[in-house]
Symmetry: C2
Subunit: 196 residues, 2 copies
């Protein structure tokens, strides 16, 4: 059995349930960054540098014999690891964690039901994404390579490195702000002229 | 100062940070359901039957003098209490919690960046919501009064009472399934014929 457990983004953000699963696990896999969020002892810890298919196959094979936890920063179902074990013939369950999306919404005081969350981490910005501005604000998970000028001259709030060193929140126009971190979230308000 | 702290949906789903805030608070406000999720001592606990403006004003007034926590089931920024203190002249901070949306996505193994989350709790279904099917799956927060036939003959998954007594997950067609709980989430797949 494999549990993919969300570690949250800040220290102390893991849930009691998640903590219990980590403590019971025979093996815990995770990135260095994920393990930095955890301050208690584990039976066996395996630090992963990369998450590619061969790694997922190895974990799946362990999961057929043992209680395996994959520790995921944030939430496994927010641009996360939760879907990676799809067809590997092993039972996988997901335990949610606090995501960077939730931290951003908490700072912005905007509700999840007012936004569309878009994953532009190492991914192209689909032009149809702009259609959403008719209905909703956008919350874009972005990295340094994300091209803000695609948002035109809209006002944006760029939240970077939430709960990490160098946390910043900056406001400005999309064509004049720069993304400096690979852990960035860009909030863009919906178009106002459209009446629902 | 007021902290709105997410309690999660299941027992043991509060984060360590949230727990610490509750322990330190002079007063904790919350619904009976929210307090049922908490199994540790609090300095002062005030159970709220209703959340109307006069209640929020009372809490805001306490918050100017004391450390006040409002315990919110789920996440305060998911169809939540987080925005209620907007213009009441008191500093409000939000501490995220696990929402029913996250539980549903974990069960469905669907990522947040593949859906649009719609709040139809005691609220009308906006016909423009159907436009989202061109781009995304829908995850609808619903209650017994929600009219599933608005979704046509689409396939739906109805998740009810997550982490409560009577938890069920049922699949079927929108025009033949019934919502039996006021804590329901309806997952509807996007339209397939559209190429992005």
């Amino acid at each position: 059995m494999i549990w993919v457990v969300g570690a949250g983004i800040c220290r102390g953000q893991i849930t009691e349930r998640g903590k219990e699963m980590l403590r019971k696990a025979d093996i815990v896999y995770g990135s260095r960054r994920a393990f930095e969020l955890i301050d208690f002892e584990l039976k066996e810890k395996r630090i992963l540098g990369r998450f590619d298919n061969s790694v997922f196959e190895e974990i799946a094979s362990e999961g057929r014999e043992k209680e395996v936890v994959v520790l995921s920063t944030g939430d496994p179902m927010v641009a996360g690891l939760g879907r990676k074990f799809g067809k590997m013939g092993v039972e996988v369950r997901i335990e949610p964690g606090i995501s960077s999306v939730q931290l951003a919404l908490a700072k912005l005081k905007v509700d999840l039901t007012e936004v569309v969350v878009v994953d532009c981490h190492a991914r192209d910005f689909d032009s149809s994404t702009l259609d959403f501005f008719k209905y909703r604000h956008l919350l874009i998970l972005a990295d340094r390579r994300f091209d803000l000028t695609k948002l035109g001259d809209r006002r944006v709030v760029v939240l970077e490195n939430l709960c990490m060193e160098g946390e910043t929140v900056r406001e400005g126009f999309a064509d004049s702000v720069e993304i400096k971190s690979d852990y960035a979230i860009v909030f863009v308000e919906r178009d106002k002229e459209v009446v629902e």
